[in-house]
């Protein structure tokens, strides 16, 4: 047997063996790594066999030359005849002006009507982007429903909060942070909603909407893992780095008599990334 033939035969034999092995692996419960390796070997065996056969055992007809186009190219008369055929058909319709205009109108109307079901794909946005589920008096709770009190957080700590009854709500998610009381530099009105060093901001990044999962406690910065927008917690969550254009809206909160935290209203601005109706 010639060498190339031996190689091809060996390759196909390898395939047969690994295909059988695959069968065994599968019957014995399967194993992802073994399956992948054996598949690669089995398929590769066929591949190598075919490639070597084609390259080394078949006639090396590499340089046969053929014309690309049809032997006889179209003449000017041909082209004219084709144009004539096409146009005569169109002319039949165009002749009847009124009817073809009506046809156009009918087709247009029907076409527009066909698009109507697309409207059923989703509801109108309305003002849903402008509000969240936070209402005055809503208690702050964590994802498992545990109410958050004034003593839950130590200084330098943070947690994710929701309005009671809406745990996990995508648009209402907020991050509650505790800093040293004197460090906050908010406006007077904003300070009223941030008692005792506790401040809450929307957790939705105003760039592309990712939840702000990183809190750098030592530098008091909230950072977004998606595109690195960074917000200064002490200064009203203004963006200090990255592509976010607007600060995070602050959730105004107060401490109740029993120590529980509650919101005094919804976010003063729409949460999340900007849109046309933002104003």
């Amino acid at each position: 047997m010639k060498r190339a033939e031996r190689i091809v035969a060996a390759a196909f034999l390898v395939t047969i063996i690994s295909a059988l092995a695959l069968f065994v692996v599968y019957m014995r419960g399967g194993n992802t790594q073994a399956e992948g390796a054996l598949l690669a070997i089995a398929l590769g065996g066929v591949g190598v066999g075919l490639l070597v056969w084609a390259k080394r055992l078949m006639p090396h007809i590499r340089d046969e030359t053929q014309p690309r186009a049809k032997a006889v190219p179209a003449t000017e008369a041909d082209l004219e005849a084709t144009v004539e055929t096409m146009e005569s058909g169109v002319e039949e319709i165009r002749r009847r002006r009124f009817l073809s205009r009506m046809l156009l109108g009918a087709a247009g109307a029907l076409g527009l009507a066909a698009l109507i079901p697309i409207r059923s794909l989703g509801r109108s946005p309305g003002d849903s982007l402008l509000h969240t589920k936070w209402t005055p008096g809503a208690k702050l709770v964590t994802i498992d429903g545990t109410p958050v009190t004034a003593s839950t957080l130590e200084i330098g700590s943070f947690t994710t909060v929701f309005p009671e009854g809406h745990e996990g709500s995508a648009d209402s998610q907020a991050v509650l942070i505790r800093v040293e009381p004197g460090q906050l530099q908010l406006t007077e009105a904003a300070m009223a909603g941030a008692p005792d060093g506790l401040v809450a901001y929307s957790k939705i990044c105003t760039h592309a909407g990712c939840p702000l999962g990183l809190y750098l406690a030592a530098t008091h910065e909230l950072r977004c893992p998606c595109h690195q927008s960074t917000f200064d917690v002490l200064d009203g969550a203004k963006p200090v780095y990255g592509p976010a254009p607007r600060p995070l809206p602050q959730l105004p909160i107060e401490i109740a008599e029993d120590g529980a935290l509650f919101a005094t209203g919804d976010f003063p601005a729409p949460v999340g990334p900007s849109f046309w109706e933002l104003g």
């Binding site: 790594q33 130590e154 999962g213």
Partner: protein, 254 residues
């Protein structure tokens, strides 16, 4: 009167002999006295010596801090243990980022320093007890994904967090270090007290991270657990690369 002087001398020598015996016995007895709680003064003394030699330049003799190092007031034994056992402290250059390395002190020296710092800067989180066997993997992974994955990566292999900081890979950390880091919030990391991550969650977190050491890679080579970046690199370099090699072996080159 020789008789009376002799009698006096005999009494005196008797007294002296008894006194000497008492003194010797007393010395022996004194050396067996019970140690007051692990020789605290000795430990603190040793700690004080270590502290003054290695820490006071940056953290000040009274642990109040200097321009080169923060105050250690209220940091707690957990912080001291964490920083020393992971070799982050002492820091040769105060402008460097603290990084995990070989601890400079032996465990006994670390205990001494903990005792001493506690004496001059009391308070702060104690060394937490973390019981991996009491943890629940499902609670651990949920706690991890909700609180830690944003900085340390879903695969716990770490990530850059900005400002020149890197949230490190969590694989080198043992359960005690994990517990300490969670409670103290080292570096830029926030802290999580028992009200935010309770003991059961902490045990579970440590259990999950330990489990991740040897599990979670049913699919094969884990490629650093950094996700799509590594996968894309492998697809182009290995996948397409091998196939282009095949093309060049089987196709014409001219």
């Amino acid at each position: 009167m020789a008789g009376r002087a002799n009698a006096e001398a005999r009494v005196l020598s008797k007294v002296l002999r008894i006194g000497l015996a008492v003194a010797i016995l007393g010395q022996i007895a004194w050396s067996f006295r019970p140690e007051p709680s692990s020789a605290q003064p000795e430990l603190e003394a040793e700690g004080r010596a270590l502290y003054e030699a290695n820490c006071s330049t940056c953290h000040a003799l009274d642990a109040g801090g200097t321009v080169n190092g923060p105050s250690l007031q209220q940091v707690g034994p957990a912080a001291v243990d964490f920083m020393l056992r992971t070799g982050r402290m002492p820091l040769a250059n105060p402008n460097d980022q603290p990084e995990r390395g070989e601890p400079k002190f032996s465990p006994d020296e670390i205990d001494a320093l903990i005792a001493y710092v506690a004496s001059i800067a009391p308070g702060g989180p104690p060394i937490p007890t973390v019981d991996v066997s009491a943890g629940d993997l499902a609670l651990g992974s949920e706690t991890f994904l909700d609180n830690c994955a944003g900085c340390h990566g879903a695969g716990a292999s770490g990530d850059s967090v900005g400002g020149g900081q890197i949230a490190p890979s969590l694989y080198p950390a043992d359960p005690r270090e994990i517990g300490e880091a969670v409670r103290i919030g080292p570096g830029v990391m926030p802290k999580f007290g028992p009200e935010t991550i309770d003991q059961r969650q902490l045990d579970s977190l440590a259990a999950y991270l330990e489990w991740l050491h040897d599990n979670g890679d049913e699919g094969g080579l884990q490629l650093g657990r950094v996700g799509a970046v590594a996968e894309g690199l492998v697809a182009v370099v290995v996948g397409l690369g091998i196939l282009i090699l095949v093309l060049r072996l089987t196709g014409a080159k001219r």
